[in-house]
Structure formats: structure tokens, C-alpha cells
Symmetry: C2
Subunit: 202 residues, 2 copies
DNA sequence: TGATACCTACAGAATTGTAGGTAGAGATGC
DNA sequence: GCATCTCTACCTACAATTCTGTAGGTATCA
């Protein structure tokens, strides 16, 4: 009842649209249309209305990210490069997680208490796992850096920025440019550095 | 007339809000309130309405970015690190340029022709200058990489992601964490790489 | 006296939310 | 075996508000 099949369809559609476009850019009509029902029928499954729907699916989405990132790391060898690429592959397969929009546009539009809670969740789900991954790699002696928190955030922004590449741009001039490849390229670049070195560090 | 003082105030307020929150999350009332007038008065300065206002200020903003980035590079020594940091400093001083939101939320909400044009402009203003900067550094032998286009995009995403750090988070535990410092840290990390090397490459 | 920069008032559409109704599936009483 | 009862998942209709855009008026200044 509280988690029926029909309700899940509503949450799925809402999650997809809200995460793609943001709170204000999605109407209840959009969500209802996506699953072929009338907007008023949404209230049957989510009596709390738009804001509660947004909060619920955002929480759900963040929880999924936390688990997805954890699983990606757990299923990889103990190696920063492999782990980061696994995380990136998982992130690229998801709808974009636009934290800039979340912080600057979505959060100011909802109840401040909830906004604060969601911001915390976002940090815990997205930044912390990456931060932990990097710290462990540092402990293993694989990498060396003083501000791994900052690096974790930058890494995330770098990977997510790939979602800003329009789909058409990927097939240009016969180059089968793939988002996963791009993410791997970026990770290799961050790990190895761009500066030219005469002795190649593999 | 076409570029009066009052009109500039309208464009400034609109640019700030639109770039911060996105097209759908900003109402004409918000913009008018920002400069202390009624929403209907906006039509005196921008008869084209909301969509044309958005397009105009987005163009303006992108043009400013193109110029600001070019100026930052021009006023720096011929050195990737210095140039990238100058660009980053300029970007950090601007309102966030959320390309993910632009592509996935703002562009689908406006006329497709204009959306395509703005997307081109965004690429020209943001990615291309960075790409050119990197190619020149490569020509000078400072850096070495095969996919500088991808790197340029990732670099941008990395720097812009700093705008997702909530202002309160910057003053935590007495650490005067500054957005500019964070950007510099990220640039150093990308140039030098995170991998531990026993001979320090300065 | 005319241009500029505003204003009030309002129309029309979109958006969120409420009230109450219905069709069908499955359980229950007799 | 079948009438009925209840629950789920919708529906239509509409109220309240917000948002965009229009029409026309007014104050100020050169």
C-alpha cells in the first residue's frame, strides 16, 4: 500500500524529472504525463504534494548514490585508479547529479530545515565516499595530497560535468566519443598530472 | 534608450538571478523585486518578455565570460599554471556557470533554435578558450596529453563545482577555506597529479 | 511637450491542491 | 454461488494562487 507498484512508478518518474531539471522546472503535470495519468492522481500516492514528493525522491536518489558508489568501490581491486573509474562509470550511468543547481536553485525553493538535511545527505552520499576512498589510497601510499576533501569535490564536479556534453556532440566526426571513456581520461589525467615529465610514470 | 542606466539595472538583476537559479526557477516578479520595481515595468525595458530577457542576459553573460577568461590569460605570464589559476580566479568571482543545468533544464525550456545558438556560444566562451590555452601550453612543451578538449571540459566542471560548496561550509572549524584557494589546489592537483612520485617534480 | 521610467489594473494561462466520484479486483457473509 | 463491501488507483471538476503579458495612466525632467 505505502509502497505499491503504482507508487513506485510515480516516484521513478518524479526522480528522473526532478534530478534532470530541478525542482522549479518540473510540474506535477509533467510527472503525471510521464506515466500517463492526471496530475491530481499523484496526490493519491503522495498526499504531501510537490515539495514532499521532491524531498522523498531526492532522499531516495541520494541513498541510491551512496549505495551505488559504495558497491562500485567494493567490487573493485584495492587500487585508486580502478576504484575511481568504477565510481565514475556508475555516476555516468545515472542521471546527472547537479550539486550546483541543488545548492543554488533547488534548496532555496524548499523548507530550510529540509534543505539543510538534504544538503547534509548529499555531502554524505557523494563527497564523503570519495573522500574516504582517497584517504585510504593515501594510507596505502598510492597517492599523496594534503586537501583530499577539496580533491573529492573537484573530482565529482569533473565527472558530473560530462553530463553537460550534449548527446549529439558525442557522435561528431566519426569519433565514437563515449562518456565513460571521457571520465576515465579525466581520472587518469588527475592521477598522473598533465605536466610533462621525461621519465614516464606508469 | 536601448542601453539606458535603468535598463542595465534590469539586465544585471536578471543575469544574476537567471545564472544563479536557472530559467524556470526565476519569475519576472523576482527580477523586478531585486531592483525595487513592479514586474510589469520590466516590459518597458525588455518588450520581448521573459524568454528574450533570458536569451539576452545569457548571451551577455557568455560574452563576458569569453572576455574575462581571455583577459585573465592575457594578463598572466606564459605559463599554464599561472594562466589556469588566473582563469579560475576570474570564474570564482563570477556567479556560478552551471552548464549541466543549462543543457538539461534551461535549454529545453526555450525555443530550440535559440537553445542551439546559446549552447554553441557557451562552448565557444567557456570550453574553447581553455582548450586553446592547453593546446598552447602543449605546444610550448609544458604539458602533454592527447585529449585536451576533454580536459578543458573537466577542468571547467572541477572549478565550477566549487560554487556548490555552501558559504557556511567555508568558515568551519576556524579553517579560512577560500574558494580561490580551493581552485588553485585543484589546478595544482590536475597539473602535478595525485600519484605519489619519489622524485618531486616542481 | 515629448521622452523616459515607472505605475495600477486586469486578462489569460499555468500550477498546485481539494472534493468527491467511479471502475474493477478481491475478500466476506450467508 | 452470489450479493455486497472495501480498497486501490484512478478520474472530473473546480478553487486559489501565481505567472506572464497587455493597456493605459502618471510623474519627472530636458
Amino acid at each position: 500500500m505505502l509502497n505499491s507498484d503504482a507508487r513506485q512508478r510515480v516516484l521513478d518518474a518524479a526522480e528522473k524529472l526532478f534530478m534532470e531539471r530541478g525542482y522549479r522546472a518540473v510540474t506535477l503535470k509533467d510527472i503525471a504525463a510521464q506515466i500517463g495519468i492526471r496530475h491530481a492522481s499523484l496526490y493519491h500516492h503522495v498526499p504531501g504534494g510537490k515539495q514532499e514528493l521532491f524531498i522523498e525522491v531526492t532522499e531516495r536518489n541520494l541513498a541510491r548514490h551512496r549505495e551505488g558508489i559504495a558497491a562500485a568501490i567494493a567490487n573493485s581491486p584495492q587500487d585508486v585508479r580502478a576504484q575511481l573509474k568504477a565510481v565514475a562509470d556508475w555516476l555516468i550511468a545515472q542521471p546527472p547529479m547537479d550539486l550546483i543547481r541543488m545548492v543554488n536553485s533547488d534548496m532555496p525553493a524548499i523548507d530550510p530545515r529540509q534543505a539543510w538535511r538534504l544538503s547534509q545527505m548529499a555531502s554524505d552520499a557523494m563527497i564523503e565516499p570519495l573522500h574516504a576512498l582517497l584517504k585510504q589510497a593515501q594510507a596505502r601510499g598510492e597517492i599523496a595530497h594534503d586537501d583530499l576533501g577539496v580533491i573529492a569535490g573537484g573530482l565529482l564536479g569533473m565527472i558530473e560535468s560530462i553530463h553537460a556534453v550534449p548527446t549529439e556532440a558525442l557522435h561528431q566526426r566519426g569519433i565514437p566519443l563515449d562518456r565513460h571513456d571521457m571520465a576515465h581520461t579525466l581520472i587518469d589525467a588527475l592521477l598522473d598530472g598533465l605536466m610533462r615529465r621525461d621519465e614516464p610514470t606508469t
